[in-house]
Symmetry: C2
Subunit: 239 residues, 2 copies
């Protein structure tokens, strides 16, 4: 029994590591889902469109595993202070990651319904928006996996450009709809695609905020330097 | 010190009760936000439109309070089994409630931008959808506050009707847009209103699932009897 404390600490560290591993895998999966969803739309790629919804069940399973392992650690190890804050952050971030996966799947399902617009629309605003959101998501996941508060703060500062591209895209789409009523159906799908991408960006920002709080114990200000639903700014005409 | 255990238990029960009280208040607030947001659209009521965004900061503050109290309880009391599962559920549900508040605010901000359609559109599908979603949300909050697994299961079963109304509304709106390009702007706002209402319904269902798990220790099946983003069904043309 003399070895018990050291043994306990080792097991505990392993469990924390394993919890971290689960959300790291979730992060990798939802990054993949987002990348494929964007490719599905802007390249009209059927194979890419099929992947995100297929990955959803795996993401859901990981979310449940994270929750069960977190409960197990809380029950058996009664962690304190920083560890406790990080376990709670992991629980909340796994929820954000699950939502990101859902939004990516929703984008993928609409991807091929915009085909009638092919050629007429350059997808350039959407392409740029997709790139930015993917970058932010990637940095948020890295910050999460590496417990990096500085990187988290970068993500938190980087989201305004996404909103500007969203507004550009919105105007472009309304113009297409006005020009020809046959564009209305496909353009509505693209509007929802853009909205879902914007929400993925919001959840990446949420993750960044949680990493920052878990690591530093300080909250970032509740007014975020960006738009989107979660930012509580009044909806512009471009929304 | 002989009284310490009884004293500790009492304090602990009070803290759990107080955590429950915070999410109950959150539930009441987001119900109010949702009701006012729907009224703002279907009755074109300006006063109602102002309220949901004004309540957002209060909801956010309560979410943070819930998280901090949960961490405190976990740190000081090291709760076991059912209590632990319920504290984790509260953490997750406070996230759902916060999202519901966001969606309600987003609806409220769009409410008066559909005014040009007034008279042309009966809002009857939206009115019915709003009523159903509010009922589901109310039952989900009740199930949460009263720890009622049976009621939670009712909510979980009740969401399909919302999707049917959404599809009806979607078709109606596309028809208006095709008839007159001047309807396109306001109709897009209404499409997002309907989508946001549907998402509020999804989060009410999430809450019901979490209550069920927290109380029974069993998960409801991952395939839910309903549509919407979170249900992972293929997007219909009506989406």
């Amino acid at each position: 029994m003399g070895n018990e404390p050291a043994h306990t600490i080792t097991r505990y560290d392993q469990e924390l590591e394993s919890l971290r591993g689960i959300v790291a895998r979730m992060g990798g999966l939802v990054e993949r889902q987002t990348a494929q969803a964007v490719a599905a739309v802007v390249d009209q790629n059927e194979d890419a469109a099929r992947e995100p919804p297929m990955l959803d069940p795996e993401v859901d399973t990981l979310e449940r595993e994270a929750e069960q392992l977190a409960i197990r650690i809380l029950a058996l190890r009664a962690p304190m202070a920083v560890d406790l804050r990080q376990i709670v952050a992991v629980l909340k971030m796994s929820g954000d990651l699950e939502r990101i996966g859902d939004y990516a799947s929703s984008i993928a399902r609409r991807a091929l319904k915009v085909e009638p617009l092919d050629g007429a629309l350059s997808f350039s605003a959407l392409r740029a928006m997709g790139r930015l959101v993917q970058e932010n998501l990637h940095r948020a996941v890295e910050a999460m996996v590496e417990n990096d508060a500085e990187r988290a703060k970068e993500v938190w500062n980087a989201d305004t450009a996404v909103d500007e591209l969203y507004t550009t895209m919105f105007r472009e789409l309304v113009t297409y709809m006005m020009e020809d009523p046959r564009n209305i159906g496909p353009c509505i799908h693209l509007l929802f695609v853009a909205k879902n991408l914007e929400r993925i960006g919001d959840h990446a920002t949420n993750i960044a905020e949680r990493v920052y709080y878990a690591v530093t114990g300080e909250m970032l200000p509740s007014e975020r330097p960006r738009g989107g639903e979660a930012a509580k700014k009044p909806a512009s005409q471009g929304e």
